[in-house]
């Protein structure tokens, strides 16, 4: 039995993030008093608890922090295996999980700290932020 890939279900707190992705923008939050960006979405700053936080469309530039290459596909991912599950570090500071696309899933192609840029993959009615090697970067 083939199943679809899992589709995230936004909550009121995370809706702006998913709305941003639908508009092909990576939006994360920034605390106004302490000026720090943070991820995942929360209605107040995890550092200083200020509720004075803003959604910001960020650059989408990131670096490859770490990863695994998964050889045992999750349901719905059979056609993708092996595939990369990565931790990327956004230029603005926060880290997040994402798949890498546009690059062969081989260790020699995947150098830690390589430059990445955001892309968006359709997932159900949503779009999912993923990352690919930055254009102009030598891979």
């Amino acid at each position: 039995m083939s199943v679809d890939k899992p589709v995230p279900k936004p909550t009121p707190e995370t809706q702006p993030y998913w709305d941003g992705a639908l508009a092909a923008e990576l939006r994360i939050q920034r605390c106004t008093p302490c000026r720090e960006f943070y991820f995942y979405p929360r209605l107040f700053c995890p550092r200083c608890m200020s509720a004075d936080v803003q959604w910001v469309s960020v650059s989408g530039r990131a670096r490859l922090h770490s990863y695994v290459i998964n050889h045992r596909a999750a349901p719905g991912f059979e056609a993708d295996a092996p595939y990369v599950i990565a931790i990327v570090e956004l230029e603005e500071g926060p880290r997040m999980m994402a798949n890498l696309v546009g690059v062969e899933p081989r260790p020699e192609m995947l150098t830690l700290d390589m430059d990445l840029e955001v892309a968006f993959a359709q997932r159900g009615d949503l779009r999912l932020p993923v990352f690919r090697p930055a254009s102009g970067s030598v891979s």
């Binding site: 890939k5 995230p8 279900k9 995942y40 045992r72 999750a74 991912f77 931790i87 880290r95």
Partner: protein
């Protein structure tokens, strides 16, 4: 207030068998382990007035056994829940909330009989920010920082593989271990790639089984005619980081490990050099590496060489995971109970691969994917009195 020396583990037992147990539900495995723990120390279930469990509700366990508790702990924070149950029970006993606490684990991790389903909700944090990326069980999550560790410290694939080789040496001496045949570095590196950089033999087993502990005050233990020597709680710690490994502060070190262990060692008032025996929850081969460093046994970046040079093997200066660990002994899903069981056996002097003269043992557990941690420093009566 410290619980040092005030509380003793008087009963400790596992299920009759471990491995593949298709004819027992998860709840029955809790109950079987509990019954064996009663026999182990010769008490009756009517002596028990506190119950703690994870995986199954402690209420379900108590009712199944016909126990009416006046202390209940349902802390369920993954595989280290049982270290934390011991910690909470020790405080509760010392404070007079209850007298005798039963802590149980049972999991049909392999056969999945009466086991809870494992689907995270799409609206949960993990359901939104990790599950959509094709995570598929712990192998896709737990090792996600290993390449960063390798880059930072120069850990080699061979050193990582040596963790599995070392632990199999211990397992080869243990008739209850699920995997006992000795393996080489080449065997590990030639085993199927599960999630690069982790090969099959660097990933834990998936088994069925259970274990149980019985705790009471040192005072009460001294007045009982126990068939086996009590094991004393010298120090405990617990901590947590995130339910999502992607939010880890440092992918080369666990903040929860550091916090939990520091507290346990401080309370016990012991130096690392006084630890005779060590259990570090090994869901994957990199966990003993992170653990040795985060608990403070070796410096940052040194653990890979420390293990590959044989220091944790039989005859080594720091015997580690002497039952064979989650990699070779058993791993039901929440393995922490089995790490504690082995510490108790080593302190009692009746382990299958007994280390000579164990007076202080540390059992360190992890929950989730570096989500949580629990640490126990345990000792014999000789140490508890000092």
């Amino acid at each position: 207030m410290s619980v040092r020396g005030k509380v003793a583990i008087i009963g400790a037992a596992e299920t009759d068998s471990l491995g593949i147990i298709p004819d027992r539900s998860a709840l029955q495995l809790h109950a079987e382990a509990a019954r064996n723990a009663f026999s182990d120390c010769g008490i009756s279930k009517s002596d028990v007035d506190g119950v703690a469990a994870a995986g199954q509700s402690p209420i379900a366990v108590a009712d199944y056994l016909g126990i009416t508790p006046r202390y209940i702990d349902g802390t369920a924070i993954g595989g280290c829940s049982f270290m934390v149950h011991v910690r909470h029970a020790s405080a509760a006993i010392a404070a007079g909330l209850c007298d005798v606490v039963l802590i149980t684990h049972g999991e049909s991790g392999r056969s999945r009989v009466g086991a809870a389903p494992r689907a995270p909700d799409g609206a949960s944090l993990q359901g939104q920010f990790e599950v959509p990326y094709g995570i598929w069980g712990p192998p896709t999550l737990f090792p996600i920082g290993v390449l960063r560790y390798m880059k930072k410290f120069g850990l080699t694939h061979e050193q990582l593989a040596s963790v599995a080789v070392a632990q199999r040496k211990w397992a080869s001496r243990n008739p209850r271990a699920y995997k006992r045949a000795l393996i080489t570095l080449e065997d590990v590196l030639a085993s199927p790639m599960i999630a690069y950089p982790m090969h099959l033999l660097e990933c834990c087993l998936v088994t069925d089984g259970g274990g149980a502990l019985i705790l009471t005050s040192a005072e009460r233990a001294a007045a009982m005619d126990l068939p086996r020597p009590p094991v004393y709680v010298l120090g405990t710690g617990e901590s947590a980081e995130s339910t999502m490994i992607s939010m880890m502060e440092d992918f080369t070190s666990s903040r929860a490990f550091r916090m939990s262990a520091a507290r346990a060692f401080a309370e016990a008032g012991i130096a690392h050099s006084e630890v005779d025996h060590l259990m570090i929850y090994d869901a994957f081969a990199h966990l003993p590496i992170y653990g040795l460093e985060d608990l403070g046994f070796v410096g940052r970046g040194e653990a890979g060489a420390f293990i590959s040079e044989g220091n944790t093997e039989p005859g080594g200066k720091l015997p580690l995971n002497t039952n064979g660990g989650g990699l070779s002994y058993t791993h039901t899903g929440m393995y922490g109970m089995f790490a504690i069981q082995e510490s108790v056996r080593q302190l009692r002097g009746d382990a299958a691969a007994q280390v000579p003269g164990v007076n202080v043992s540390v059992a360190h557990g992890v929950g989730g994917m570096f989500m949580s941690a629990g640490t126990l420093v345990l000792g014999t009566a000789d140490v508890a009195r000092t």
